[in-house]
């Protein structure tokens, strides 16, 4: 279970505001995080990953990641993070991108097969299409078998056909690994297809927290 109770002052494009999030997330849950841009969604993900500081507490399966006295570094949290721009390492091939994270050849091959990347394992990121790069980013994020998978609009730059295909892949991977997942998205279809629960943020506050009935 992930317990989040944090505050952070944000100086965003829509003016200064306070990000204030107090919620619990059950193990294995798939959360869609929606809301206008600049409302604090990405910042929340970055705080969970330890890439930004905040006040308050974060506990994951009983381990304290953030409290008044503690700040566990991003290196020790070992979350899976899929960045909006994929952030692949251009100097490494697909396979090397995965192995850099963890030298686990079996898992790497397994993930490459699952995401249909096995044939492309020796290609460099700049020779892959957007959709393929996105799949590498996703597979790479799962190399640590993370307790928490964070995805920041992972499908925003993908064309609609590919998008559907990747949604199915994300869903398959989620069912397989049962990773607690938080995904920032603007796309309604994505929300209804993937999420167990939907959190909507506005001006730094959760204004809606609902179960997704369509799943």
């Amino acid at each position: 279970m992930v317990k989040i109770n944090i505050t952070k002052k944000l100086f965003g494009s829509i003016g200064d505001m306070e990000l204030k999030v107090d919620t619990d997330i059950n193990r294995g849950e798939f959360i869609a995080l929606t809301g206008e841009s600049g409302s604090g969604k990405s910042t929340l993900l970055r705080i969970l990953a330890g890439l930004e500081r905040a006040n308050g507490d974060i506990t994951v399966d009983g381990d304290v990641w953030l409290s008044k006295q503690f700040f566990i570094s991003p290196q020790k949290r070992r979350v899976g993070f899929v960045f909006q721009d994929y952030a692949l390492f251009p100097n490494m091939t697909t396979l090397q991108n995965l192995l850099y994270i963890e030298k686990d050849y079996d898992l790497a091959n397994y993930l490459l097969n699952m995401t249909q990347l096995y044939e492309l394992r020796d290609r460099y990121p700049q020779n892959l299409s957007g959709g393929q790069q996105q799949r590498v980013a996703l597979a790479r994020a799962l190399m640590l078998k993370p307790k928490l998978l964070l995805m920041d609009e992972p499908l925003s730059a993908i064309d609609p056909d590919m998008r559907q295909h990747l949604q199915s892949e994300i869903l398959a991977l989620h069912r397989e690994f049962q990773t607690t997942t938080i995904m920032v998205t603007h796309n309604r279809e994505e929300v209804s297809r993937l999420a167990d629960r939907v959190l909507t943020i506005k001006y730094g506050l959760i204004i809606e927290d609902r179960r997704n009935s369509t799943i």
Binding site: P74, Q75, V79, F81, F83, D85, F89, N91, Y100, Q126
Partner: protein, 229 residues
């Protein structure tokens, strides 16, 4: 090829030795500094950046003068080096290395810093969240993805040190086989009106510098083409 037989190549060898040692030392010492400057949002950053850039705008005589004062036996730095390491910095090759490190500092730091700044931030963060520390990230992700900046820093520092003159003359003088580098040798040839030797030395310097810079620009162009394929 008769003309080449009478040439003493020692000044060139000295120049290249000096440039090689300076480039390696500067690279190792300024890697953490450049990284810090690229990542820092601290208020002291502009002051450090100005200090680093000073050798670009200061006349070499000013740097040479202060280093002369600093290296002398009467200064704490000069006496410290003599007493602790037994190294005489004034009018010695070791002193030239230290002086060159100051003189060429911005030519190493600035390309490295802008190279680090141009890296995709989330790429570095992707390395951090996967459990990799700053040093692993630096050597396995940051540096391999900024090869043009890396090569520019190394080549320009090297070339700039080979071309160094004023500071060397002030701090090192012109001791044959110790501090008489190629640029100083050319100056002396002109002074004694040995224009033939001056021509040969200058021609060699010009050619080497041109070839070095051309290779650098060709390499960087290829890297760019590769990146935006």
């Amino acid at each position: 090829m008769e003309w080449i037989e009478g040439i003493d190549f020692t000044p060139f060898i000295l120049s290249f030795q000096l440039a090689t040692i300076t480039t390696i030392s500067l690279f190792l010492f300024t890697l953490p500094l450049s990284w810090y400057l690229s990542q820092s949002r601290s208020k002291v950053k502009p002051f450090i950046e100005s200090l680093v850039a000073l050798p670009i705008v200061l006349p070499p005589s000013v740097i040479g003068f202060y280093l002369l004062v600093l290296f002398s036996h009467n200064s704490p730095v000069g006496s410290f080096f003599v007493e602790t390491f037994g190294v005489e910095l004034l009018f010695s090759f070791s002193g030239l290395v230290v002086a060159s490190c100051f003189y060429s500092l911005p030519f190493m730091v600035q390309p490295l810093q802008s190279g680090f700044e141009s890296l995709n931030r989330s790429m570095l963060e992707a390395s951090y969240v996967s459990g990799k520390g700053k040093i692993t990230t630096l050597f396995r992700v940051a540096l391999p993805n900024m090869k043009p900046a890396l090569l520019t820093a190394i080549v320009v520092t090297f070339a700039h040190t080979v071309g160094e003159f004023g500071v060397i003359l002030m701090v090192g003088g012109s001791i044959p086989e110790e501090t008489k580098v190629a640029s100083v040798a050319i100056y002396e040839f002109v002074e004694i009106m040995d224009y033939k030797s001056a021509h040969i030395y200058s021609g060699i310097m010009l050619l080497i510098s041109f070839i070095t810079l051309t290779s650098l620009y060709i390499f960087n162009r290829r890297q760019k083409e590769k990146r935006y394929w």
